[in-house]
């Protein structure tokens, strides 16, 4: 009977809203997952005369971490990276995003440098090309230089053990 129609439509709507409660509207997945890491040619923080490109990602599984000295969450995350980088022997590459070279160098000197290489992205061009919108962000890049995963926000050990570490392990074993 057509008088049941409003009720049916409403219940369908209710179903969608119910499912919707599980969804986080603020999280945006990276559009670059499955794509090769975009090209860049930038200096490093440690040595401003040394230039690197995306070639450094080739042949190993890279953990790429975007951070800045003006970013409070990045500073909080730093201790976690100091620990994880050594414990799991990571190829941890940092990207110092939209920052001041001197301040970045001083910061790393003061608290320790967990990065094998730290790229200096002063103008934010690398960040833009990688779809960065909220520092800190962490990308996992496989041996062929393809982006496999992107985590927005600081790393916590729970996430590390549940998602990132297993992914890195499987990529290491040549998946």
């Amino acid at each position: 009977m057509r008088y049941l129609l409003p009720l049916c439509l409403f219940l369908a709507l209710g179903g969608f809203l119910w499912k919707g409660l599980d969804v986080n509207p603020k999280e945006i997945p990276s559009a670059l997952v499955g794509h090769p890491a975009p090209h860049f040619a930038l200096a490093t923080v440690e040595d401003p005369h040394r230039f690197v490109t995306e070639q450094i990602f080739m042949g190993k599984v890279t953990v790429l971490n975007i951070w800045a000295t003006w970013c409070v969450s990045c500073k909080a995350e730093h201790a976690v990276w100091m620990d994880l980088a050594i414990k799991y022997n990571l190829f941890l590459v940092g990207v110092n995003y939209h920052d001041d070279l001197k301040m970045a160098q001083q910061w790393l000197k003061a608290v320790g440098n967990p990065y094998v290489i730290c790229i200096f992205d002063e103008a934010g061009k690398l960040g833009l090309d990688y779809g960065v919108y909220g520092t800190p962000e962490t990308f996992i890049i496989d041996k062929a230089g393809v982006i496999r995963y992107r985590h927005v926000g600081s790393i916590d050990t729970q996430h590390w053990h549940s998602t990132l570490l297993p992914l890195i392990a499987s990529l290491e074993n040549g998946v």
Binding site: K26, I28, S30, A31, G124, G127, L128, Y130
Partner: protein, 114 residues
Amino acid sequence: MAHDIYPFSDPKQRDLFTKVIHELRCSVCQNQNLSDSMAPLAVDLRNEIYQKVKSDYSESEIVEFVTHRYGAFVLYNPPLQWNTAFLWFGPVLILAIGLFLFGKYLKKNKLAAF
């Protein structure tokens, strides 16, 4: 004389720039478009888009540049594709149903006018 922060000599380019930055969503301040957001990312993107408009990129090329990096989420104008068909055609469909139902009522209950 004060100068425009994004100067254009060609009004068509200015219109394109204005259109694009209004129709793209800021991923940082997600309740603002690229025109109004003061997030550093938005500033960077505005500058990129400005350069591209001045270099005569087309609207679809510029939009593709941004969506390639940030996904379809940043489009305030949802694309017309098979899985958004109901979004775009739904309202007209609902209208058709409504008018049809009223039409049925009129058929039964219409007073002869002439």
